[in-house]
């Protein structure tokens, strides 16, 4: 042999030669991974063997692969880093499908590594075989089946790049077991990506931004409509957004996903918009003359009836994903680019405006908004006998002031109430399943957040139905000493399902009442956590304080008024200015919320 590169002694491999399983761990480390969420199984045993023999990456053992995915999502959304999950072949991969789709719809950077049966067995209906890349193709941003160990490192590096750049999203790398055993070359993370077909654009077109700024300056009834894209773009984008609001004095609302990008205590804040958003936010959206959509996507829960959506406004839309532009709503000035980068240009161009709009230009608009605000659309009737769910959340929020708090939720009425009554001052503090609406998201997500922020107060605001969808992760919280607090608004119903049945299905409460509810206090104790119970408004504050003081996982069974419904509400198929307000939502109004034509379709 004359090749000088191969002069290593026979018993020692060159540094870049290693097994597939070693390549996986090295590639994760090189991409800055410190925690992975996973569950072992036959097809990932070589990787788990490597995990056992190192200390740099901590593995969090979940109790179900869905939990691993949501935990990784919570981890990613509270840190801005990529979440990593590791699952086995077959059922491991199929259980990962829900969090993958969840991450796709909420644009969460997630890398899922899955084991696969050996390449020689693929297609033979082997034990725990499934077509992972086929099944996950529509629920990922991209996915790979690794067929050559020498390509493994490059694919993992590319997976991280694709997951976190452009519009973030989930990716899957499916690794057959023989590839994990095989020896190959580790290639370092490239400085410049090799792939030429994926080059997301971050810089916005400066002419479009200039046109947008001029339009904004001419507005008499402007509104900023912001979304999760601001949070995803990073803390700098939130800072720039606040600066833009400060400079322009525009009113600002946000989608469920964007809460915290602008502080709830800010004077221009209108509250969340959409189906259960505030009256002032929705009315302002309907009546505005210039709408600036920043990192949001005109989802159907936001727009209400599309052909009545903000009929008289000129619209600017900032989005990194070209397919979001003109998908549901036609916009006048589309700006393709990263929110942070575009806002930077926007703030600069606003400052450079030769003639700033006079304060009087929007004075009338603000007084109109203040009249809408005075309607106090989140109000509810307090009770001294039963805990109103809204009251419980108000008290919970008050108790968390001064703490380093992160909130996750499950999906349903409690989620909407949490969005209405818990105020967020900073981005990355609010983790909820918006696009997919995945019940069972909150507990594993809280676990992921707590892993990333061990000393923070992490609360999962839950419903009695949702919490039971991933309750097994209590065991994970105990094992890893993660003191998450599960605050269940227990009304013994699937509240949001019941609310729709009352509104749209003739009050026939088909299967929305939960019989045989577990004793949540005993359940907590069975897992080794602390169980708490409260059904008296007078005791609530003390119990919440107690919950926060406990440095262990807590399940708090908060018994609330059973039949409370979530208002205000834009009923399905209605426009923003046809909201059902809490004080108007009598039984009769609820029954007639949908007209005769609508009822025929029910």
């Amino acid at each position: 042999m004359t090749d000088t590169n191969n002069q290593t002694p026979d018993n020692q491999m060159p540094d870049n030669q290693m097994t597939g399983a070693e390549i996986v761990l090295k590639a994760l480390k090189d991409n800055g991974v410190e925690h992975i969420f996973g569950y072992p199984g036959g097809a990932v045993l070589p990787i788990y063997d490597e995990i056992f023999q190192q200390d740099d990456i901590q593995h969090i053992l979940v109790r179900h692969e869905q939990g691993a995915g949501h935990a990784a999502e919570g981890y990613a959304r509270s840190t801005g880093k990529v979440g990593v999950m590791l699952v086995t072949s077959g059922p491991g991969a199929t259980n990962a499908v829900t969090p993958l789709q969840d991450a796709l719809m909420d644009s969460v950077p997630l890398v899922c590594l899955s084991g696969q049966v050996p390449t020689t067995l693929i297609g033979s209906d082997a034990f725990q075989e499934c077509d992972t890349v086929g099944i996950t193709r529509p629920c990922t941003k991209h996915n790979w089946l690794v067929k050559d160990v020498n390509e493994l490192a490059g694919i993992i590096h590319e997976a991280f790049r694709i997951a976190q750049t452009g519009r973030p999203g989930p990716v899957v790398v499916d690794i057959p077991k023989d590839i994990q055993f095989a020896t190959g070359t580790y290639t370092p993370k490239p400085e410049i990506a090799q792939n030429t077909s994926y080059r997301p654009r971050t810089q916005g077109d400066i002419n479009a931004i200039q046109a947008a700024v001029e339009l904004m300056a001419s507005a008499r009834r402007p509104i900023l409509y912001t979304g999760g894209g601001v949070v995803n773009s990073g803390p700098q984008a939130s800072r720039l957004l606040r600066e833009l609001v400060e400079l322009s004095d525009f009113p600002i609302t946000s989608t469920l996903m964007g809460l915290g990008a602008y502080p709830a205590s800010g004077k221009n804040w209108l509250g969340m918009l959409g189906m259960h958003g505030s009256y002032e936010a929705n009315m302002a959206m309907h009546d505005c003359d210039v709408m600036v959509c920043i990192g949001a996507r005109f989802d159907d829960r936001i727009t209400g009836r599309l052909n009545a959506f903000s009929p008289n406004s000129r619209k600017v839309h900032i989005d990194i994903d070209p397919s979001s532009i003109n998908k549901n709503v036609h916009v006048d000035i589309p700006i393709l680019g990263d929110v942070g980068s575009v806002l930077e240009d926007m703030v600069r161009l606003w400052r450079a405006l030769p003639k700033k709009p006079a304060k009087a230009q929007t004075e009338e608009w603000w007084s109109q908004i203040n009249r809408w605000r005075a309607r106090k659309s989140f109000s509810y009737k307090h009770s001294n006998d039963v805990i109103m769910p809204q009251y419980a959340l108000q008290r919970l929020f008050e108790a968390t002031r001064g703490h380093d708090t992160y909130i996750t939720t499950e999906v349903g009425q409690h989620q909407m109430w949490a969005a209405q009554f818990i105020e967020f001052e900073e981005p990355n503090r609010w983790m909820t399943s918006g696009g997919l609406g995945t019940m069972g998201y909150g507990l594993p997500a809280a676990i992921g957040v707590q892993v990333a922020h061990p000393d923070a107060l992490v609360i999962d605001v839950a419903g009695d139905a949702s919490i039971q969808m991933c309750i097994q992760e209590m065991s994970c919280a105990i094992q890893h000493n993660l003191p998450v607090k599960i605050f269940i608004l227990n009304n013994q119903y699937m509240g949001m399902v019941r609310q729709w049945q009352q509104l749209l299905h003739g009050n026939r409460l088909s299967n929305s009442y939960t019989e045989a509810m577990p004793d949540f206090v005993k359940l907590a104790e069975a897992y080794g956590a602390v169980g708490m119970y409260c059904d008296d408004p007078k005791e609530l504050d003390g119990k919440i304080e107690e919950m926060i003081a406990v440095k262990r996982p807590v399940i708090f069974d908060c018994r609330v008024a059973n039949l409370a419904n979530c208002f205000p509400m834009i009923p399905s198929g209605k426009a923003h200015n046809e909201m059902l307000l809490p004080d108007e939502a009598t039984d009769e109004a609820v029954a007639n919320a949908i007209d005769a034509k609508g009822r025929q379709l029910v």
Binding site: R137, T196, R305, L306, N307, I325, N326, K327, G573, K597
Partner: protein, 190 residues
């Protein structure tokens, strides 16, 4: 995406679509890697778009590029959305709406051609008639016995439709069509 059927955005109020659907030909340049065709087709079925014709083949071996030609039908908004969704697919390099570009060049449509193989079985006068018509359509005989011909014909889809219809009474037993290959007129490349 079924927004073209539900402009209200609600299942409780379905209003009919008023915009008119058009047929467009898209050229999609993709990295030639496993699963890329499945990604493209899955996008169409998953979001409820139509495929009227689809052809795919490697066009630049060295650069690992394949070209997919898709004829699809939709309202202008849906067509714009299809293009944007295709561009999101990671191994997709470029998407060109050839019909839009043809309109920009002042033409009605791009050059669109299809190849078909047509097997006709018959005897006596019918064979002579088959050959006469094949000649009129510039179809070539590529295989024959005393009982049958296989004819190869190239042209616009409408021409092939017509030829196949004419061959029916003359003993047509089998047709295979390639789907449309398309390109814009003029010196510019895609």
């Amino acid at each position: 995406m079924n927004a073209h059927q539900q402009p209200t955005g609600s299942a409780y109020f379905i209003a009919p679509e008023t915009a008119k659907a058009e047929s467009h030909t898209l050229s999609v340049l993709v990295a030639n890697e496993p699963g890329v065709l499945a990604r493209v087709i899955g996008l169409f079925s998953g979001r409820g778009y139509n495929i009227e014709s689809l052809t795919v083949s490697e066009t630049e071996h060295e650069a690992h590029l394949s070209r997919i030609t898709i004829v699809t039908r939709g309202t202008p908004t849906v067509l714009e959305q299809i293009k944007a969704q295709l561009e999101r697919i990671v191994p997709v390099h470029r998407v060109v709406d050839l019909t839009v570009r043809a309109h920009a060049l002042g033409q009605e449509r791009p050059i669109e051609r299809e190849v078909a193989l047509v097997k006709v079985v018959g005897q006596g006068d019918r064979r002579a008639e088959t050959l006469r018509l094949a000649d009129a359509f510039h179809a070539k005989v590529v295989d024959a016995t005393v009982e049958h011909f296989i004819l190869e014909i190239t042209g616009k889809s409408s021409k092939i439709d017509q030829f196949v219809a004419i061959m029916k009474p003359l003993g047509l037993v089998e047709v295979c069509r390639t789907g449309i290959a398309a390109m814009n007129r003029g010196p510019q490349g895609m």
